[in-house]
C-alpha cells in the first residue's frame, strides 16, 4: 500500500528538542531526574498517541497518483541490450523478492491512475466500439506516398519508418511471407486489449503498402552490414519486401505504428526504479500493474513481455517534464512469433530452464516435456500456434524470468483477473475482427481460443483469494458485496459468508469494542445497528465458506467511513497465503 511512514525511532530522533547539555541543572539533585523522566514519558506518550499517522487519510482511497509532480527533464536516454536482458534475468535474481503487498495500490486495493496505467475497462463500462478503437485516433490510414525516412532500427521483423504529411513519424512492419496476416493481426489485437486494460500503448493500424507507390526520402538512411550508415536505396526497400508477405493484389500488408508523443528516453525495467526520475518511487517489481501483467500475458501468450519491449517517453512542458511508460510490440503474442509461428516452447518454458533441460539431458531424451506433444490447429497460416486446451495459467512462462511476474501474489492476480473478466465474448470477437483476417476460420479460432484461455484465467485467479469485491454499505446499514468468482461464473456459490463486524479506530488502526459475528448465505447483510450508531468508522471481516476453495476462509477486511450521506468504502484488505515458491 501507499504507506511509507518514517519509523517511530526516526520520528523520535527528528522531534527530540535539544541535546542533553542544553538542559541546565540536570545533574543537580534527584528531582530533576524525576522531572526529566516525566518529560520523556510524556514525550513518548505524545509520539505514541499523536504522531502515528492514521490508517486512512482523508483523501483515501486515492484515484490518481500524481507522478508528474516533479520535473524529470534531466533524465538521460538509456538503451537496452537484448542479450544482457536475457542473461541478467536468466542467471541473476533481480529486484526485491519480498512477499509484500503491491506498493502502489490504494486502500481499496486498486491501482490509481498514473503515467503507468489509466483505469479504463476496470473502472467504467466502456463500449465494445471504444475497446476496439483502442488508442487509435483514426478509423484507417492510407500511407501511399508517405516518404520512407529511415530503416527500422531494431527487431527481427522487416520494416521501415515513414512520415505522414504533417511530419509525424510512423513505423511500418510487414508480415512474414509464410504466415501472412499473422504478426499484424497479433499487433492490433494486443494493442486494443492492453489499451482497454489501462496500459499506455501506441496507435496501430493495419495498412496495405503498394510497392509501386513507395517513396524514399532523399534524407533516408540505413546501416549496412559493415556498420556504415549510407543513403537508403530502392534495392534496400526491395530487400525488405522480399522478406514480407505479398497479398493477391500485389500489395503488402503491414502494421503501421504511430510514434508516441514526446522524446524517447529508453525503457523501464521490471525491477527497481529509474534513478534519474524523481517521480518513480515504487519498485517496479512491486507495482500492481506490472505484477498483474503476468495474468494478461498468460491470457494472450505474450511471452515477449519484458523490459526491452517497453518505452519511456518524456512529455510535458519545460520545467514540468515527466515520463509516460508504454508497453509495445505485440507482434509476437498469441500464435505469432513475429517472423515465424510461435515456437511450441513459448509460454510453456523459459528459453533456458535448467530442470527440464537437465532431465532431458540425463534421460537422453526419454523424458518428454508435456508441451512437446501439444497439437495445434492448422487451419490457417495466419494463426500460427495458438491453443487453449493445454494452456495452464499457473504454469505459463514468458521467454525468461521477469521480476515483477515472479513477485505477483494472489491479490495481484485477482485484480488482473477481474479486468480480464470484463472482456465479454462479444468484445473479444469484435477485437479479433479488427485484425481483418481474410479467412473466417482464422478469426473464429483466435476468438474461441482467447475465450477459452480467458475462462481458464478466471477460474484460476478469481478463485485464488477470497473473491469479495464491490463492497457497499448503504445509509440504511445494508451491506452488499460481490463474489467476483461467482459473478464471472468461475465458481459456484459458496455455502455461506461469515461476517465479523467491529468499530474501527482510524487513529490506532485497530478495531475497538466488542465485535459482532453473523453468518449469511447471500452477499448481503444488515450491519448491527448498535455498532453503527455513533461510529465514524466500521470494519467487517468476511470469510467465505466453500468446500472447493479453502483459501476463501482467509478474511477480507472491509472498512467504511461515515460521510454526510451515509457510508463510504475506503478499505479492502485481502489476507493472502504466504508465497510458497
Amino acid at each position: 500500500m501507499f504507506s511509507k511512514q518514517p519509523r517511530r525511532a526516526e520520528r523520535a530522533k527528528r522531534c527530540w528538542p535539544t541535546s542533553r547539555g542544553a538542559l541546565p541543572g540536570i545533574s543537580r539533585g534527584r528531582a530533576p531526574w524525576l522531572v526529566l523522566a516525566a518529560v520523556v514519558a510524556g514525550f513518548a506518550a505524545t509520539i505514541g498517541g499523536r504522531a502515528a499517522a492514521p490508517k486512512f487519510f482523508s483523501d483515501d482511497p486515492i484515484q490518481v497518483d500524481d507522478d508528474r509532480a516533479f520535473d524529470a527533464g534531466s533524465v538521460r536516454a538509456i538503451e537496452g541490450s537484448n542479450a544482457y536482458d536475457f542473461a541478467e534475468h536468466t542467471f541473476l535474481k533481480r529486484g526485491d523478492r519480498s512477499d509484500i503487498r503491491a506498493a502502489n495500490v490504494n486502500t481499496l486495493d486498486e491501482v490509481p491512475d498514473s503515467t503507468w496505467f489509466t483505469n479504463r475497462i476496470g473502472r467504467v463500462a466502456i463500449s465494445i466500439e471504444e475497446i476496439v478503437r483502442g488508442p487509435n485516433q483514426f478509423d484507417s490510414l492510407v500511407i501511399d506516398d508517405w516518404p520512407i525516412v529511415q530503416e527500422k532500427s531494431s527487431g527481427i521483423t522487416p520494416g521501415y519508418r515513414v512520415t505522414d504529411p504533417s511530419g509525424h513519424l510512423y513505423q511500418v512492419k510487414f508480415d512474414p511471407p509464410a504466415n501472412p496476416e499473422m504478426a499484424s493481426a497479433a499487433e492490433v489485437i494486443g494493442a486494443a486489449i492492453y489499451h482497454a486494460l489501462g496500459y499506455n500503448v501506441v496507435q496501430g493500424y493495419i495498412v496495405e503498402v503498394d510497392p509501386a507507390r513507395v517513396i524514399i526520402s532523399p534524407k533516408a538512411t540505413t546501416v549496412d552490414m559493415s556498420g556504415r550508415r549510407r543513403s537508403m536505396r530502392r534495392e534496400d526497400v526491395d530487400q525488405i519486401f522480399s522478406r514480407a508477405a505479398r497479398l493477391p493484389n500485389g500489395k503488402y500488408r503491414a502494421t503501421l505504428s504511430r510514434f508516441a508523443e514526446g522524446r524517447p528516453v529508453g525503457y523501464f525495467k521490471y525491477y527497481g526504479t529509474r534513478p534519474d526520475d524523481p517521480n518513480d518511487i515504487h519498485p517496479h517489481e512491486h507495482r500492481r500493474e506490472l505484477r498483474g501483467n503476468r495474468v494478461f500475458s498468460a491470457w494472450l501468450n505474450h511471452d515477449d513481455s519484458r523490459g526491452i519491449n517497453s518505452l519511456d517517453m518524456l512529455e510535458g512542458a519545460e520545467g514540468r517534464r515527466y515520463i509516460r511508460h508504454y508497453v509495445f510490440d505485440f507482434g509476437s503474442i498469441m500464435g505469432s512469433g513475429s517472423t515465424v509461428p510461435q515456437v511450441p516452447r513459448a509460454g510453456n518454458e523459459y528459453i533456458l530452464e535448467w530442470a527440464p533441460a537437465l532431465k532431458t539431458l540425463a534421460t537422453l531424451g526419454l523424458y518428454v516435456r508435456p508441451w512437446i506433444t501439444v497439437d495445434y490447429w492448422q487451419g490457417a497460416r495466419s494463426v500460427g500456434r495458438f491453443e487453449g486446451d493445454f494452456f495452464d495459467p499457473i504454469q505459463w512462462r514468458p521467454e525468461y524470468p521477469n521480476p515483477a511476474f515472479e513477485s505477483m501474489r494472489p491479490d495481484d492476480a485477482f485484480w488482473a483477473a477481474r479486468l480480464v473478466a470484463r472482456f465479454s465474448d462479444d468484445a473479444i470477437r469484435a477485437i479479433v475482427a479488427k485484425a481483418r483476417y481474410s479467412e473466417p476460420s482464422a478469426a473464429e479460432h483466435i476468438a474461441a481460443t482467447l475465450i477459452k484461455r480467458r475462462d481458464k484465467v478466471l477460474r484460476t485467479w478469481l478463485t485464488s483469494v477470497n473473491p469479495i469485491a464491490e463492497p457497499s454499505l448503504g445509509s440504511d446499514g445494508m451491506l452488499t458485496f460481490e463474489n467476483a468468482a461467482v459473478a464471472a461464473r468461475a465458481a459456484s456459490a459458496p455455502t455461506a459468508y461469515v461476517l465479523t463486524w467491529s468499530r474501527f479506530d482510524n487513529a490506532t488502526g485497530s478495531n475497538v469494542g466488542d465485535s459482532v459475528e453473523m453468518r449469511v448465505t447471500e452477499p448481503q447483510a444488515p450491519a448491527p445497528k448498535q455498532l453503527l450508531e455513533g461510529a465514524d468508522f466500521v470494519s467487517v471481516a468476511i470469510q467465505t465458506v466453500h468446500s472447493d476453495y479453502p483459501e476463501w476462509r482467509l478474511p477480507v477486511v472491509l472498512t467504511f467511513r461515515r460521510t454526510a450521506s451515509g457510508w463510504q468504502a475506503i478499505g479492502i484488505e485481502r489476507t493472502v497465503a504466504p508465497r510458497t515458491r
Binding site: 501507499f2 504507506s3 511512514q5 522531534c15 538542559l23 541546565p24 541543572g25 540536570i26 543537580r28 539533585g29 530533576p32 522531572v35 526529566l36 518529560v39 510524556g42 505524545t46 499523536r50 504522531a51 499517522a53 487519510f57 482523508s58 483523501d59 483515501d60 500524481d66 516533479f70 538509456i78 538503451e79 537496452g80 541490450s81 542479450a83 544482457y84 542473461a87 541478467e88 490504494n106 486502500t107 546501416v223 549496412d224 552490414m225 559493415s226 556498420g227 556504415r228 534495392e235 526504479t273 534513478p275 534519474d276 524523481p278 518513480d280 518511487i281 515456437v343 511450441p344 516452447r345 528459453i351 527440464p356 532431458t360 539431458l361 537422453l364 531424451g365 512437446i372 506433444t373 501439444v374
Partner: protein, 404 residues
C-alpha cells in the same frame, strides 16, 4: 529546575498539529514527500560494463558480421579442411553486382597447422527468377600434413605417414532448380595437384608409386561433373525432417596423358525421421562412392575417397582408410535439450575396397559416441563429440558445422 518544569509543561500542552506540522495529512502528501525526497538524490542510470559491451555488440551488428555478414569484410573462422585445425583469416563479400544478379566473395584463411587456403567466387544465384544458378570460382590451397596409412581396408595404423598436398583450382558450375527441392547441374574444374613427400615420416619413406599410385608424378586434371539433387530437408541447416538424395557423376581427365584418368559415381542419401514434433530426430546417412579407371590406369591416392575423421568414421584418425570405393553408413539419434543445444548419440560404420563388388555389410569398421550440438533451429554452429568403440581408440571432436 523551573526551566525544566516549564519545558515539560509546554511540551505536554502543545497541540499535536503544531508539534507535527510536518506530518502529512493526506495520502497525496505522503507520496509527494517521497518524491521530493528522491528528487534530492537523483543519479543517472549506470549500465554495467557487461551491459555496455553487449549493447555495443548488438547495435554494431557485430554478431551478424561475424556469423553471416551480407557484405563487406569479416573474419572467417572455421575449419578449411579435415585435419586443418581451426583456421582464421579475412573474408570479403559484396552482393548485388552486375545489376543485382551476381555476388562476389573471397577469403584467405590459415591455421596453426600451417594449412592455408585462398578462395574467390562469383555466384549468380538469382537468374531466371532464382531457378538458374551459375558459379565461377578459383582456389589455391596448401595442406602440408595430410595423413596416410596405405590403401585398402587392411591398411595398418603403424604405417602412418604424412604428405603435403597443394593445388590450384579454377572452374565453373551451373544448376537449374525448377522447383525449390530439385536441382540438376554440372560443372568443370581445372586442378593442379602436387604432393610433397620429402621429410622423415613422410609418405616416401614407406610407400612408392605401386602402393600409393600417383606418388611420383602429379599431372594436372580437368574434372567434369554432373549431378542431380532432391532435397526436401527442413530446416536445411539443422534438419529435423525430410531427406536429401544426391547422385553425382564425375570424370577426372589427366591432361598429361591418360595414366591417371578415372570416373567416379557417388550416391549420397540422407533421411530424417522426426519424433515428438521434431524434438527428437532419427537421422540416417548413407554414402557410396565408386571410382573406376580403365585397364592399365590408376586412381591417384590423393584423389581417392577416405574414411576416418570428424565427419564420417568419427572413432578413427583423419583419412584412416582410403581406396577407390567407399561405403559409409551413419545413424544418429538427436534430442533437443533446450533451445540452442541438442544432444546426439551416433553410430558410424564404413568400409573401403579396391573393387566395388568387394564392398559389403560384413566386416565394417565402426564406432559409436555421444555429443552436443550448439546452434539454432536453422543451423549448427559447433559440435562437441566423443567417439568410442573403434580399433582406432577414443577421439574427442570439436568441430564447427554439422556432421550431415
Amino acid at each position: 529546575m523551573r526551566v525544566l518544569l516549564l519545558v515539560a509543561s509546554l511540551w505536554l500542552l502543545t497541540p499535536a498539529p503544531l508539534l507535527y506540522a510536518q506530518e502529512p495529512t493526506t495520502r497525496a502528501e505522503v507520496l509527494r514527500r517521497q518524491r521530493e525526497e528522491k528528487s534530492q538524490e537523483l543519479s543517472p542510470p549506470e549500465p554495467s560494463r557487461l551491459e555496455r559491451v553487449l549493447l555495443d555488440l548488438e547495435t554494431g551488428r557485430l554478431f551478424e558480421r561475424l556469423l553471416n555478414p551480407a557484405e563487406g569484410f569479416y573474419p572467417k573462422i572455421g575449419n578449411i579442411t579435415t585435419g586443418s585445425g581451426i583456421s582464421f583469416g579475412p573474408a570479403y563479400r559484396t552482393p548485388g553486382l552486375f545489376g543485382g544478379h551476381a555476388d562476389f566473395s573471397a577469403f584467405a584463411a590459415g591455421s596453426f597447422q600451417r594449412y592455408w587456403m585462398v578462395d574467390a567466387r562469383l555466384t549468380m544465384p538469382r537468374l531466371a527468377g532464382e531457378t538458374v544458378l551459375l558459379d565461377l570460382h578459383a582456389q589455391r590451397y596448401d595442406f602440408p600434413n595430410e595423413d596416410f596409412f596405405g590403401l585398402g581396408p587392411e591398411s595398418r595404423r603403424q604405417d602412418h605417414v604424412t604428405y603435403g598436398l597443394a593445388s590450384s583450382m579454377v572452374g565453373g558450375a551451373g544448376a537449374v532448380r525448377p522447383v525449390p527441392w530439385l536441382a540438376l547441374g554440372g560443372g568443370f574444374d581445372y586442378l593442379t595437384p602436387s604432393v610433397a613427400s620429402d621429410d622423415d615420416r613422410r609418405i616416401g619413406t614407406l610407400f612408392d608409386d605401386a602402393s600409393a599410385p600417383g606418388l611420383s608424378t602429379q599431372p594436372d586434371f580437368v574434372r567434369y561433373q554432373a549431378f542431380a539433387e532432391l532435397n526436401y530437408r527442413a530446416p536445411r541447416g539443422n534438419p529435423r525432417r525430410g531427406g536429401r538424395y544426391a547422385l553425382a557423376i564425375a570424370r577426372f581427365d589427366d591432361t598429361s596423358g591418360d595414366r591417371y584418368s578415372f570416373r567416379r559415381v557417388e550416391a549420397d542419401l540422407q533421411q530424417y525421421v522426426p519424433i515428438l514434433r521434431d524434438r527428437r530426430v532419427l537421422a540416417f546417412h548413407a554414402l557410396v562412392s565408386a571410382s573406376d579407371a580403365d585397364a592399365g590406369r590408376e586412381v591417384p591416392f590423393y584423389l581417392q575417397r577416405t574414411l576416418g575423421g570428424p565427419d564420417d568414421l568419427r572413432g578413427f584418425r583423419h583419412f584412416r582408410f582410403r581406396d577407390r570405393n567407399l561405403l559409409l553408413l551413419q545413424a544418429e539419434y538427436r534430442w533437443e535439450i533446450f533451445t540452442a543445444v541438442d544432444g546426439a548419440i551416433f553410430y558410424d560404420a564404413g568400409q573401403v575396397a579396391p573393387r566395388l563388388e568387394d564392398l559389403s555389410l560384413r566386416d565394417l569398421e565402426s564406432d559409436y559416441g555421444i555429443g552436443f550440438r550448439f546452434g539454432t533451429a536453422n543451423g549448427v554452429f559447433l559440435r562437441v563429440e566423443g567417439a568410442f568403440g573403434s580399433s582406432g581408440g577414443k577421439h574427442f571432436i570439436f568441430r564447427f558445422g554439422h556432421v550431415f
